[in-house]
Symmetry: C2
Subunit: 339 residues, 2 copies
C-alpha cells in the first residue's frame, strides 16, 4: 500500500502569495529557529515534521489580513503565522496516522517514517509548541483563541471520522464539519492578522468572517477537485474521499439529483458495502450537473466572504484578500474546463 495524502505539487493561491516572499522567508527562518526549542532527542523528528514545503495558506492569511503586509514582515505576524502553521502541521501528522497515508508532499509521512506511536506524540509536541509560541504575546488572547480553534478543528475531524461510511450525512452535517475542520483555522488566521495590526474590533470581526467563508469555499473546492481535478495538477489521486467513505458535497448533490431508485446503490458504495464505481459516478455527475450544483455553493461562500469586506474598501488587506477570492474562482473554472 502506498497511499498518498498529498503531493503538494500545486499552490492554489500561488499568484497572490508571490508578494509575500519576504514574509514567508521570515516565517521559514522563524520556524527553523523553533527546532532548538524541542528536546535534543526529538529535534530531528520535529525538524522533519516542520516541513517548509507546504502551501502555507494559513500563514498567508495571517500576513494578508495584517494591515502592513506590504512593508517589512511584522514580527508579531510572523509568530502568529508560525502558530497557525504548527497547529495545521500537527493536525496533518495526526491525520496521516489515521488515514494510514504513507506519502505527503512526495516524502514519507511522519507516521510512516517514525511509526504511529511516535507520530501521535510528535503531533502532540507540535501542538504544545504552537501554544507555547502563542503564550509569547503580551496578553492571553492569542493563546485563548488558538487553543479554542484547535479544539474545534479536532471536533470537526472527530465528527467526520464518526460519520465516515454513514449514509446519514446531511448538507447541514457537511457544512458543520468543514466549518470546524477547515474554516475555523482560516478564520482564526485572518482574525490574528487583523487583531495584531491594532485595527478596530468591527474590522477584525469582518476580516475573521471573510476567513471563515473563504475556508468553507476552499474546502468545497478541495472536495470538488477530488472528483473533477487533474491528478497531476492537484497532486493527489482522484476519488480518495469517495473510496474512504467520506460523504462530501459532490456526493451529496449527486445523491439529491439521482432518481430515488438509484440512490440506494450510491449509499452502498459510500458505506463501503459495495466497491465504489468512480467512472460511472463521474459520468452521472456530468449528466446531472453535479459540478454546477457544487460550484454554485462555492460561489455563494466566496460572495459571503467578499461581502464581509464590503464596508472596508480602503483598508490595505481588502484588495489582497479579494484577490484570493478571484484566484479561487479561476481555480474552479479550471476544474470545469478539464477535458
Amino acid at each position: 500500500m502506498n497511499r498518498v495524502a498529498s503531493t503538494g505539487s500545486s499552490s492554489t493561491f500561488g499568484s497572490v502569495f508571490a508578494g509575500l516572499k519576504p514574509h514567508m522567508a521570515a516565517l521559514d527562518a522563524f520556524l527553523r529557529e523553533q527546532i532548538e526549542a524541542f528536546e535534543p532527542e526529538i529535534r530531528d523528528m520535529a525538524d522533519y515534521c516542520i516541513d517548509t514545503s507546504g502551501k502555507r495558506i494559513r500563514p498567508a492569511l495571517v500576513f494578508l489580513s495584517g494591515t502592513n503586509s506590504d512593508g517589512e514582515p511584522n514580527p508579531d505576524l510572523v509568530r502568529a503565522a508560525a502558530v497557525v502553521e504548527l497547529v495545521h502541521l500537527a493536525t496533518l501528522v495526526h491525520d496521516d496516522i489515521m488515514d494510514q497515508a504513507d506519502l505527503r508532499r512526495n516524502r514519507e509521512t511522519a507516521a510512516r517514517k517514525f511509526g504511529p506511536t511516535a507520530a501521535v506524540l510528535l503531533g502532540d509536541a507540535l501542538f504544545s509548541h504552537a501554544l507555547h509560541l502563542a503564550a509569547q504575546f503580551p496578553t492571553t488572547e492569542v493563546c485563548e483563541t488558538v487553543s479554542e480553534s484547535t479544539r474545534k478543528v479536532c471536533a470537526g475531524e472527530i465528527v467526520q471520522t464518526m460519520r465516515r461510511g454513514s449514509d446519514r450525512v446531511t448538507r447541514d452535517d457537511y457544512w458543520r464539519i468543514i466549518d470546524l475542520k477547515t474554516a475555523e483555522l482560516f478564520r482564526v488566521s485572518c482574525f490574528l492578522g487583523a487583531r495584531l495590526s491594532g485595527v478596530s474590533d468591527t474590522y477584525v470581526a469582518d476580516v475573521a468572517r471573510f476567513g471563515r467563508h473563504l475556508g468553507i469555499a476552499y474546502q468545497i473546492y478541495d472536495d470538488l477537485a477530488d472528483f473533477f481535478g487533474d491528478e497531476q495538477r492537484i497532486g493527489k489521486t482522484l476519488g480518495t474521499d469517495f473510496a474512504s467513505g467520506k460523504l462530501t458535497l459532490p456526493l451529496l448533490v449527486l445523491h439529491e439529483k439521482l432518481p430515488s431508485a438509484d440512490r440506494a446503490g450510491l449509499i452502498e458504495e459510500i458505506c463501503g458495502r459495495r466497491a465504489g464505481d468512480m467512472p460511472s459516478r463521474l459520468r452521472q455527475m456530468a449528466e446531472l450537473g453535479v459540478f454546477e450544483g457544487v460550484e454554485a455553493e462555492v460561489q455563494r461562500e466566496i460572495e459571503s466572504a467578499e461581502e464581509a469586506l464590503d464596508p472596508w474598501p480602503d483598508e490595505a488587506p481588502t484588495p489582497l484578500l479579494g484577490e484570493l477570492c478571484g484566484v479561487l474562482r479561476v481555480q474552479i473554472g479550471a476544474l470545469r474546463s478539464r477535458p
Copy 2:
C-alpha cells in the same frame, strides 16, 4: 487480548489527600462544567474521557503547594488543577492507543470504546481545552508553563517509545525519560500551586524542585511495583513493563548485578528476542538485592525533595508535602514486605 493499563484500585497518597476533599469536590464540579465547552457532537466522548475516578495526584500537588490549602478551595488553584489533570488525561488517552490497552480503571479505554482515530483526536481536544483553560488566567504564564511542560512530557514518551526493546538504555537515559514523562508534570503542578498563591520566587522555585524530585521518586516506585507489587493492591498485572520491553530501573540494576556471562540472556528477553522469564528474573532480583538497590535511589530522590523544602519550615505547604514523602516511604516498605 484484554490488556489492562491500570485499574486504579489503590490511591498511593490516599491518607494525605483525605484533607483535600472539598478541593477535589470543587475540581470535580469544575471539570464537569468543562464538558459544556466541547462541541455538542463530541461532548459525550469528552465526558467519558474526563474521568473523575483517577488518583488525582497532580491536582493534589497543585492544592497542597498552595499556601491556603486548608481553607476554601481557591478558584485559581481549582482551574490550575483542572489544567494539569486534563493534560494528564490527554496523555493517558494517547498512551492507551499506543499500548493497545483495552481497560483502564476497570472500564474500556477511549481507544477501545471510540476507536483509535477518534481517540487521537479526543486526546488533542483535551490538550486544547487544557490550554484554553490555562489562557483564562490574567497573564500568559500558566499557558507558557503548561504548554512547555506538555511538550516535555511528549518528548519523554517519544524517547521511551524509541528506546523500547533496545539494549542500549543507560541509567542516565532512564532518569532523563522519567524526568520528562513524569517528573515534569509533578514539577509544574507544584510550581502552579505555589505561584498562584502569590509567594516569593525563591519559594516557588523550591516547591517546584520538590515536585520534580517527588515525581522521579514516584516513577521509580511505580517501576519497582511492576516487579514487586501486589497485583490486587497496585491494580495491574505485574511484569507488564518487562513484557513490553521497557527498560526500567529494576532491570537496569539487575543487569548491573548479574555476572557478565548472564547479561546477554536478560538483554535478549528485554529486546523481545526471547520470551521474558518473569519468575526466574524475580528470583534473581531477590538473590542479588535488586530491590534494595532501586529502593536506595527512591530514597535519594525523596531526600532531595525534602531538602528542597528545608529552608521553608514555617510555610503551610511544607508539612503537607513532607507527608507525601512519608507516605511514599511507607508504600515502598509495603512492597519490600510482600510475602
